[in-house]
């Protein structure tokens, strides 16, 4: 677990030194609470600091999504994160103005992981595809694209992958309306 924090701190420092505007977010709850303490600690944090209560992994937040591809190239070539493990999107709330684009990197050589988050406005739901740097993003981006309606600019093959080609809507959006029927098959 400590490795995750160290990796995130190092990567944040290196990226900031290289001129990328990334912010390091760290959870403020202890990773593993002593037995019998987890609920009490969570409650205490909730009362003291309800806004920033956040548990789990540290991550880097990139505000300016136009530099995503450049940042990925830096991560791969300079910091040794040679594997993109996962690329996905998150719609946290229907009211939110942004989707999150979440990327999980892995460095096999240095045995480190890194989580990166970028923000994609729902009004202009486009972001650069990272397939040019990490081919692994190919299918992940196709999936995120059909599920969330994100357009990945420069993706080599932007077809649907899991859903039928003529499926309407993006099912994992929080404001998704279930269709009544699909080709005469009732969905209710």
């Amino acid at each position: 677990m400590e490795v995750l924090f160290e990796a995130a701190r190092d990567a944040a420092a290196a990226l900031q030194a290289a001129g990328f505007e990334v912010e390091l977010h760290q959870p403020n709850l202890p990773v593993y609470a002593p037995e019998g303490e987890s609920k009490r600690l969570a409650k205490k944090h909730k009362e003291e600091d309800p806004v920033h209560e956040w548990r789990g992994d540290p991550y880097l937040a990139l505000k300016d999504r136009s530099r995503l591809l450049e940042l990925c190239r830096f991560l791969r070539d300079e910091l040794g994160y040679e594997v993109l493990m996962d690329a996905t999107a998150v719609d946290f709330d229907a009211e939110d103005e942004h989707l999150w684009g979440v990327y999980q990197f892995l460095s096999v050589g240095r045995k480190r992981r890194l989580s990166l988050k970028t923000f994609i406005p729902k009004a202009d739901c486009r972001v650069d595809s990272v397939t040019a740097v990490y081919p692994a993003a190919d299918w992940h981006e196709r999936e995120a694209s059909e599920m969330f309606g994100v357009e990945y600019l420069g993706h080599p093959d932007p077809r649907h992958i899991l859903l039928p080609d003529d499926w309407v809507g993006h099912p994992l959006r929080k404001d998704y309306q279930y269709p009544d029927e699909y080709h005469g098959i009732s969905c209710k």
Partner: protein
């Protein structure tokens, strides 16, 4: 129309013949119902005679909206859905999900539960690899070894049935620990299996993997180089078969793996090139031996104790936050990325299935191969469609 030309490099009496044959690419549908695709996968192949010129996978026939369901049901209610991604290694799926939820809950399972989890995960790895190697033999024309492999798998399913009542979809490993403690005599049954398996393992090796036909069909076929494997995010035997020394059990220690002594098996080009179909199967074969070793060590070290964390009940309310946890499944890294808002239902439940990523690279191996090798290559990736489509 044949035309002959004189080439100055030719010796006396020799003639160079060039055939002006017009060929046409043929499109072949492999699947959705094809025995070698191990489920409802459709691969659209393009072939020029015997040589493949293109391949395109069409997924989604088994898409059951696991991630959407994850945003609709309780944290614990989702557990049975994890059984159904990779139905050949449901224990490992339960474990991956449980570890991710535990990270958000901020708890760790008691020690006895961790030992039983490792025993089950490794037993399930053996069961899964037995099916993988057995069915792979069937894909390339060896029918008998499949029955040998399933014979031992049947014993494993009995072991699973004894501990949780189910043979395929267990929901036994759960956030905070286990459903119940192991029944009396269960650990002895596992011990008997490990001893038996050591004797039987040689049979699959001699009968299938080390046979001349198997080597001829798999060596130097479908070579995945180290760079290709890393760039495409491969994991598990697919990555290790390509010579990358990476195993999450050793390199990202969780549970009690750091107390066990085991080797990480890596492909070295044992019968051909590093990263060919043979190496991937070699890795699976020897991983079974290592898993067996780990189980034996667990049986020696396990002690009595609780199997469920006292703070974790049936209704889970993890703190707000997000976590990505990936563990080493038989097919590679199964990752869960969970986002919680502090309520009893997940905000986002992302599943990163290893078969999904490993299959993506297979599409790029096929062009240039023989048509008959398509089954050998797709089979060696060892996909489970329940996981690629989720």
């Amino acid at each position: 129309m044949a035309n002959s030309t004189k080439d100055p490099a030719l010796r006396a009496g020799e003639r160079l013949v060039e055939l002006d044959v017009r060929t046409q690419d043929v499109e072949i549908n492999m699947g959705p119902q094809h025995p070698a695709t191990h489920g409802v996968l459709r691969v659209l192949l393009r072939a020029d005679g015997e040589i493949l010129t293109g391949a395109q996978s069409h997924l989604g026939y088994l898409h059951r909206c696991a991630e959407k369901i994850g945003e609709k049901v309780d944290w614990l209610q989702y557990l049975p859905y994890t059984d159904r991604y990779d139905y050949l290694s449901a224990m490992n799926n339960n474990l991956a999900y449980s570890l991710a939820v535990e990270k958000l809950l901020g708890v760790e399972a008691p020690e006895r539960a961790q030992f039983i989890r490792v025993i089950l995960a490794e037993l399930n790895r053996i069961a899964s690899h037995l099916v993988a190697v057995g069915t792979y033999g069937m894909d390339i024309g060896a029918f008998t070894p499949f029955f040998y492999a399933l014979r031992e798998r049947e014993l494993l399913l009995d072991i699973f049935e004894k501990i949780c009542g189910a043979r395929l979809t267990y929901s036994y490993i759960r956030p905070g620990g286990l459903m119940n403690d192991a029944p009396a005599g269960w650990l002895e049954q596992v011990k008997a299996f490990t001893e038996l398996f050591d004797k039987k393992w040689g049979e699959y090796w001699d009968l299938l993997v080390d046979s001349k036909i198997f080597v001829e069909r798999t060596a130097n076929v479908g070579v995945v180089s180290e760079e290709l494997a890393l760039a495409w995010g491969c994991s598990g035997p697919m990555l290790r078969g390509s010579g990358v020394d990476w195993d999450l059990r050793r390199d990202a220690p969780h549970l009690v793996y750091d107390r066990l002594d085991f080797e990480v098996i890596v492909g070295r080009g044992y019968r051909g090139t590093v990263g060919d179909c043979f190496d991937r199967n070699y890795v699976r074969m020897y991983e079974m031996v290592q898993s067996n070793r780990m189980i034996r060590q667990c049986l020696e070290q396990i002690e009595d104790g609780e199997v469920q964390h006292p703070d974790v009940g049936l209704l889970l309310r993890p703190a707000p936050g997000e976590a990505y946890v990936g563990i080493e499944n038989p097919r590679g890294e199964l990752g869960h990325y969970l986002v919680s808002d502090g309520s009893k239902i997940a905000r986002r439940l992302r599943v990163r299935g290893p078969s999904f990523c490993n299959l993506a690279v297979a599409e790029h191996l096929l062009p240039g191969c023989m048509l008959a090798d398509a089954a050998a290559i797709i089979g060696s990736v060892d996909i489970v469609i329940g996981e690629t489509d989720r």
